[in-house]
């Protein structure tokens, strides 16, 4: 037990916010994975006599404009959110990791060129770029993922670059180099593990952002195809019928708020634990 207390998980377990975050995330993941088992109704089934129903024992979170069970649809939406979120974060994370390390290690001109490239990508306001690109590409999850990757890998690239640069001249790396360590050994044994800390914090903080962009694009009608139960699409239905029922908006926004809260708190807790310098600031 005493050893567990000093592992990362052990330290997180003593932070009430981290515990809350992990519980929320775990609940959402379980609900998304077992959506078909948990869902009380078929998410496509229309109950035309029960349109715009308020929450009841039959329909836990009410029904939408076509009489479909909101709770069952939100469960399916969780699958979409997690799929898009994880795929996009992994792809943009890997691209950012590779480019960031190249920038950190490469010659000065390459570093400057990549930095300019990152800055250019960050100049696009995400949703506005998403709208512009969505006009050119077919509607679907692939487009959503491409848009998200384009707008987010630069952030990873910058963080990894900064971290690599500061490590490059650290004494233990110089010592290793003096002892004749190969380039590969320095990169994979020393730089990479040290870069991963801030990298994972960023990934945890970035995941809800990605999920929100997916929901936002679907809300604007440039995300998932029509009829797909994305959280954003549910909110759009709620917005279109705001005078008929408040429940679609209330219920549709809830998972988005929970997912962002969960991952943001987790990211915060990770940062506190992985970066002792920041801890002293509290």
């Amino acid at each position: 037990m005493s050893r567990f207390r000093h592992t990362l998980l052990g330290r997180l377990a003593r932070d009430p916010l981290a515990v809350m975050a992990i519980v929320i995330i775990a609940a959402l993941v379980v609900m998304a994975v077992f959506a078909d088992l948990i869902a009380p109704h078929d998410y496509t089934a229309m109950h035309m006599t029960d349109r715009f129903a308020a929450p009841s024992a039959e329909f836990w979170l009410g029904t939408d404009n076509l009489g479909r069970d909101t709770f069952s649809r939100l469960l399916q939406g969780g699958r979409i959110a997690l799929t898009v979120g994880l795929t996009a974060v992994i792809i943009s994370g890997v691209i950012g990791l590779v480019l960031g390390m190249i920038a950190g290690f490469g010659p000065r001109w390459l570093d400057n060129a990549l930095l300019f490239f990152f800055d250019t990508l960050r100049a696009y306001p995400t949703i506005i770029l998403a709208l512009a690109l969505a006009a050119l590409m077919p509607r679907g999850l692939t487009t959503v993922i491409v848009v998200v990757v384009i707008t987010s890998f630069a952030e990873y690239g910058r963080v990894v670059r900064t971290q690599t640069l500061s490590l490059k001249h650290a004494e233990f790396i110089l010592a290793e180099r003096a002892m004749g360590a190969s380039f590969g050994r320095i990169v994979f044994h020393h730089i990479l593990p040290n870069v991963l800390g801030p990298f994972f914090i960023l990934a945890a903080m970035n995941l809800p952002v990605v999920i929100t962009i997916e929901a936002g694009m679907s809300f604007l009608g440039v995300g998932v195809p029509p009829g797909t139960p994305s959280w954003g699409a549910t909110l759009k239905d709620g917005f279109d019928h705001i005078r008929q029922t408040p429940w679609l908006i209330l219920a549709g926004g809830l998972p988005l708020i929970l997912v962002t809260l969960g991952f943001t708190f987790l990211g915060e807790a990770l940062r506190d634990q992985l970066d002792p310098k920041l801890r002293s600031g509290r």
């Binding site: 306001p125 506005i128 604007l220 926004g253």
Partner: protein
Amino acid sequence: MIQYTLQRVALALGIVFAAISALYGVMIALPGDPTSVLLGPRATPEMRAVFREQMGLDDPLAMQILNFWARVLSGDLGTDFFRNRPVSVAVMSALPHTVALVFGAIFWSASLGILLGAFSADRRNSVLDRVTGVISVAFIAAPSFVVALYSLLLFAVTLRWFPSIGAGEPGDLLSRIQHLVLPSLAIGLAWVGYVARIVRASMLEVMGESYIRTARAFGLPRRRVVYNYALRVAILPAVQVLGVGIGGMLSSAVFAEIVFSRPGIGTLIYTAVSDRNYPVVMGSMLVAIGFFVTCALIADLINAALDPRHRKAK
């Protein structure tokens, strides 16, 4: 400082140039007939022929991009073929609404954020400090379009405290402001959290400086030292964050404008995208990116002017 300013301005211009050129290049280079991309599907064959000739669509890509910039620099953003007006007119009539919205959001985030941040730095590690910390993070986490929808539902549809549609009567300042309250709050709320945390952290740093200790030793009232002397310096990092944050706020503004049915760049792009009205999409992107990069640049320069250390850090 002059050298630094020139460097940053050159970089900003380079970024705008690269960002827009890339977008324009992608639009032209994509498979399909560029005349239908740039004129929209409803263009007649004659229009296409004239346009192809006019735009030099048979020139190499790089040449076309340079020509595009030559037109932009002479003030011609293209023509909105759907409504038969210059794109610049459409964009310029929408821009003030979006700028007002973004500055409204900055007003909320700066006023509430600085207050919360200073307050929790002053009462460091108290229960209230912990609570404000959690509230800040919760604000940061709340997706702006969910906040927009919830506030529309609560304050406009249910309680009817604020109007739900439009930007208000032209010329009537009060009605304009009434229409601005909810959408700008929806955008600004997330930044309240950021500003609060940054102000708190830099306040704590500043309070450890010797001139603050000296001021206290001279017997100046604690409140005055905290809120007059320390806060004035502690605000600086927040300026930078808000400047960079304007990009995010522009994205949120799209949602706020659509949820509250306000005119603006977001609504303009949104309808242009649904209509496949590409000249308007391009023109609004240009203005949105230009606005964002300019604001980030100004925030950067303000910071550099006020804090010389910042100039070297880059």
